[in-house]
Amino acid sequence: MSDHRPSLERTLTAAGCVLKLRGRWCIEHLEQIDRLLAETPTPHDCHVCVDAGKLVDIDSTGVMLLVNRLRAQGVVWPHVELVAFNEHQLTLIHLVANRLDARARPRSRRRALLPLLGRKATQWATGLVGHFAFFGHIVEGFYEVIRRPRLLRLRECTAQLEAVGPNALPIVGLMTLLIGVVFAFLLSVQVRKFGANIFIVDGVTIAIARELAPLLTAVLVAGRSGAAFTAQIGAMRVTEEIDAITTLGLSPVQVLVLPRLLAIIVALPLLTFVGDVMGVLGAAWVANAQLDITYYTFFERMKSVSPINMVLFGLYKTPVFAAAIALIACRNGFVVSRDARSVGEYTTRTVVQSIVAVILIDSAFAIAFPEITQ
């Protein structure tokens, strides 16, 4: 192996300069070859001869370095005399030297800060404009559907409703039940200190009906259905199905967005109500086990401390959450570009953006309506 290492020997004679190549001038020794050529400067003002008498093998990368380095030192390539190369090697050298003509400028890999900043800013601005335009399209599509209800795809709506609603029931039920249990358990430890056992009912029902169930359900739906919407629509964009829908004279908004928007707006309040019930059940069970509050006492107390208005207030928020999730998810689906990484990137974006949106909307509600019992 060792005698295959590349080496380079330079002999200066009166007639010119002779470069003797030895060993394998191949890709695995490329760094070494580069060093050899750098250590052996070739005078450019005399006749250059490359001798391959002891060369074992040369590949296109070896030729590239030889040609590039000699050219960089000012040697005019066609005037180089090639000695003892075989026929294959000669064709290779001529091919590479021809392709590597001077036109190919080295590319810079550095990126200037200012253009980057400008590019990001325009990207952000066009993105924002796109969001507004998308919202406009939806309003337009909605208006059309109200004028001509036949345009609404009922089958697609029900299919989406099933995916968003009933299919999410087990996970929503389980999560809210667990949160009810945990919340009641921690609260029971506190109320017992004050001998205020019965007030666990107030705390648990208000927290669950007003905040925990709506928020938790919305977050679950954002992660579950929002991500699914973006991935579905994004994959359809990648396979040009959305273009096909447009070419058939249909509106992608009506076919894809409205059914999903309506499905999630209908499903989220219903899911939240299931969440309310499961959370309270979990809390009642813990109150019974930890504080000896009977189920009868628990629900009697609940009737008096949490009027229907408060439960409804929790439910009123959810269609707004739902609309935000659907808008973000569908919009991100439509802007997916046609490569493999994009779908995943935008799906992640949907989940993050919609959870942030849900929490922001929830805080707005909390500030606008601070009264606990209305």
Binding site: E28, E31, D59, M64, D339, S342
Partner: protein, 253 residues
């Protein structure tokens, strides 16, 4: 390091493939010597692509074996198989460029994985490969989605050539190209094969490719190799399918 020059680069022996519930290949035998450019033809569904995938070790044949560079790739461990894989390049039918990387990054990908070249030298090699595949340097920073079909094939070829392979597998290299680009691509392939000393096995439907640039044709029919030889010899053979295949071409003219 190099086997004797007259050893076959690729050798397929007694290869059977059971796919679905039928035998796709029933005993294929052929071999390809160093420097040969060989075309694999056969009707749609005769298992050309599957055979290529078996040769590159993506699919295991049901029986028989495939020898690449004298090594039976069906017996090789994962790491040894990867060593063999760095000695051949594959040009997939649709190019199979990584869609989230630019052309230059696509060509650099095998270099990053299999060599320890410093970034400066790597860029130089990448630029050379892109030029060698006949692409302008402006294409280097483009995404595959911004390229035409012919440019995609050239970019994929540049990536397949990145590691100085000795053997090249091509799955329908000229499909989806217009006749002019297809002939240009054929010419490019032939020039590269001759000057880089490449051995090539391509599955193709393109008769012009067969007549124009191929040393030898292997015909798959009914799960067997029914002909193996230079194209002018194969075209004269008295076999129904072969006659139809070659007359489909002349009929059009």
């Amino acid at each position: 390091m190099n086997p004797a020059p007259n050893d076959p680069v690729l050798e397929v022996k007694g290869l059977h493939t059971h796919l679905g519930d039928q035998w796709l290949h029933r005993g294929l035998d052929f071999s390809i010597g160093r420097g040969e450019v060989v075309a694999l033809i056969g009707g749609s569904g005769t298992g050309k692509s599957v055979l290529l995938r078996e040769c590159i070790g993506l699919v295991r044949p049901s029986q028989g074996h495939v020898r690449l560079f004298g090594k039976n790739i069906c017996d090789l461990s994962h790491s040894h198989l990867n060593q063999v894989r760095s000695r051949f390049g594959v040009l997939f039918q649709e190019g199979a460029l990584f869609s989230s990387l630019s052309v230059a990054e696509n060509v650099a990908a095998p270099l990053i994985e299999h060599t320890s070249l410093p970034a400066r030298l790597r860029d130089e090699v990448v630029a050379m490969k892109i030029r060698l595949a006949g692409l302008p340097m402006e294409a280097a920073d483009k995404r595959p989605s911004e390229l035409s079909g012919g440019m995609k094939k050239r970019a994929a070829l540049a990536r397949a050539l990145a590691l100085e392979p000795e053997l090249l597998f091509l799955d329908e290299p000229t499909s989806g190209l217009d006749p002019i680009s297809a002939r240009e691509f054929d010419h490019l392939l032939r020039v590269l094969c001759d000057s880089l000393g490449l051995t090539a096995l391509m599955a193709t439907h393109d008769l012009d490719t067969l007549w124009g640039m191929v040393d030898r044709v292997i015909v798959l029919h009914g799960g067997r190799v029914i002909a193996d030889g230079p194209v002018d010899v194969v075209a004269e053979l008295d076999h129904e399918w072969i006659r139809k295949y070659f007359s489909a071409h002349s009929g059009k003219r």
